[in-house]
Symmetry: C2
Subunit: 390 residues, 2 copies
């Protein structure tokens, strides 16, 4: 069992009737707010009006950064940082899904640098200890950004999509109202759900490393929740219980509770980031394509017991198989969840991706070394996994 | 499912090699520290020397409040508050188990009142929003005080033992080194373990109220951890894994993760506090005596399915019984855990307690109304349960 530090000061207001607390929370930081959002869906569904009215009624001054991309760009974050510097913004209010919150984290970090450019922080893997405070209103259960210390920022000039981390990037306050995700399209619901699932699986007990039993069981409980409630939310988009379970699963997956005593892994995430960096595909879909192939690739006598356990505990597979056979059934169950239950296309070729850049992508994913995990992956391993996804 | 707020800013350093971070964390609040501890076991086992040396090497000025009782008294907290006021203490360092941390919370709250008396806060159930910062070094897995917003303070003049709560009472930092609990006697280990178990059970799904499946499953995972590891720690006091599991279970039981979407219940705790208030018995032992009788008392068609589920999930009882029979088997399993596995004496009469004060205790436990829970308990109900414990 490893020593660890647990620290997550984020204050989460969860539920239907919490928005009234927004002004009091923002005013703890000041009166000048940068409102960050994406493509305008919050204008269609009325959330933009609700929020701006509430802020204006409390004499809060609003500046705006809109048009955040699904894979948020460093140039957009820099645009936000420029506004923060010019207007002396006190607090950033992110209204949207993971992309919007991630972009806001980029803005928050860049705004306190001299140049106002987020990219040097990202590319040099700087751990951000100083940033403007962020308050988030979550509309999509997926990335866990509402309660974690990470952002993922893309540089489309260099085909790079890289994580930016730091204690200062944990939102100070998050509002999670499951009703705000009612209007999410089926495809986005499916992609978000698999993102949550993979956050846990990437960190699961696959190499038999010691952690607390209870933490392992927490991980399984969160994955079971996704497997149970994602198809319900897809069929009944306004099912509150389904949306609530997915939303809280999103936060639980990355708020560090599931990390206690473990080594945090992110093999599939590292491989997928290259796919969205090169092809701008939806992150959760890329993960769904990569994950079952990764499990197949790492399957051996050492990893088989834990993969089989995943099948038993999360997908209800019989405990009566021989270990290796059971592990194969578990991988089938993951595939079935991705490509049948969630209805996501199974191959990169379905998304118009061929092997042209695999070599470069694999090298970049390994960042000059290996991706550590239940089985360390070299660039050659990663290239092989990409080929399995074609 | 209920709306809820999750907020726990406590920073926990967990593991063997974390103590070096103590000075930097204290110095965030200032250089004048009130060191609070109990009967002197920390002097015997060397912890007192380790801590004071570390502090002095960092020019931190130490004041002391020692002799905190197992059920900490308001008079002791007031003694600490007096030192804080006189010496302008910046931060309180609690070194010990739940009693020491609870007393420190009393000190921290009283120090910022005009009178320096904690009792009016306690008896008026004031929610404490202003207190000196507390840093805790935990030596005993039990109360969860290292990561929660509650203290329990006793007034021996009036036979009252009452919870004092408040956002300001959550320790800012907690150090949890399982090795520090190696020297804990078997009886204290057993009592602490049952305190953890009951924190979860008191809040379990017994009335079928909606919560997240995953939270219910987290609760079961924490109770399973206690059932598995408590007997190991009792037999092998220096088993790191056993001590670590109990310690993290202690924190998880009350750090609000297990509360999401539930109504927090505390029926057994409310009934037990009267026992320790009147007879100064060890809290965890009192809980072990009360809990199986409470389960018996509330058992009916409404509560049986959840009680049976507890038996299946936590104690591995067969799923093939009829519901009511299964629930009875579950209660037997809880009894067996308390009185055989943990070796705690089963009756109040074993502790020299008779029915003399039951009526008054029951009325006080209900605080002029009922104890709410899976089945609301009136004073008459509570008196009946006490009698079952004789």
């Amino acid at each position: 069992m490893n020593d660890f530090i647990f620290h997550n000061p984020d204050k989460v207001y969860f539920g239907k009737n919490q928005m009234e607390h927004l002004p009091e929370e923002l005013l703890k930081f000041g009166k000048k707010v940068l409102l960050v959002y994406g493509g305008g869906s919050i204008k269609k569904n009325g959330l933009y009006d609700t929020v701006t009215k509430l802020l204006k009624a409390n004499d809060i001054e609003i500046f705006e950064l809109s048009g955040v991309e699904p894979n948020p760009r460093h140039t957009t974050a820099n645009r936000g940082a420029k506004i923060c510097k010019k207007e002396n913004i006190d607090v950033i209010l992110a209204v949207g899904g993971g992309s919007t919150i991630d972009c806001s984290k980029g803005v928050a970090a860049a705004a306190l640098t001299e140049t106002g450019d987020v990219w040097p922080l990202v590319s040099n893997r700087v751990w951000v200890e100083k940033a403007l405070p962020i308050v988030a209103i979550l509309t999509n259960a997926a990335t866990g950004s509402e309660m974690d210390s990470w952002a993922v920022i893309s540089n489309m000039d260099t085909n790079e999509k890289i994580g930016l981390g730091g204690g200062a990037l944990v939102p100070r306050v998050a509002f999670e109202n499951p009703e705000l995700s009612f209007s999410l399209p089926t495809y986005q619901t499916a992609c978000g759900a698999f993102d949550i699932f993979n956050h846990v699986l990437d960190n699961y007990y696959l190499a038999g490393d010691a952690t607390f039993d209870m933490i392992l069981e927490f991980q399984e409980a969160v994955m079971r929740a996704v497997v149970k409630w994602a198809p319900v939310a897809m069929k009944e988009p306004e099912n509150y219980e389904a949306r609530a379970n997915l939303m809280w699963a999103s936060s639980m997956a990355l708020n560090n509770i599931l990390d206690a005593g473990t080594v945090h892994g992110c093999a599939c995430h590292a491989m997928e980031h290259e796919l969205s960096a090169y092809y701008d595909i939806t992150h959760g879909h890329g993960l769904a394509i990569v994950t079952p192939r990764w499990l197949q690739y790492i399957l051996d006598e050492k990893t088989a017991p834990a993969i089989y356990r995943l099948g038993v505990k999360v997908f209800g597979i019989s405990e009566e198989f021989a270990v290796m056979e059971g592990a194969k059934k578990a991988i089938e169950a993951v595939s079935n969840f991705c490509f049948n239950t969630l209805g996501l296309k199974a191959n990169l070729s379905n998304l118009g991706i061929n092997d042209e850049h695999f070599k470069n992508m694999a090298e970049h994913a390994c960042f000059g070394g290996v991706i550590s995990g239940p089985k360390n992956l070299t660039a050659a391993d990663v290239e092989e996994i990409y080929k399995m996804c074609l």
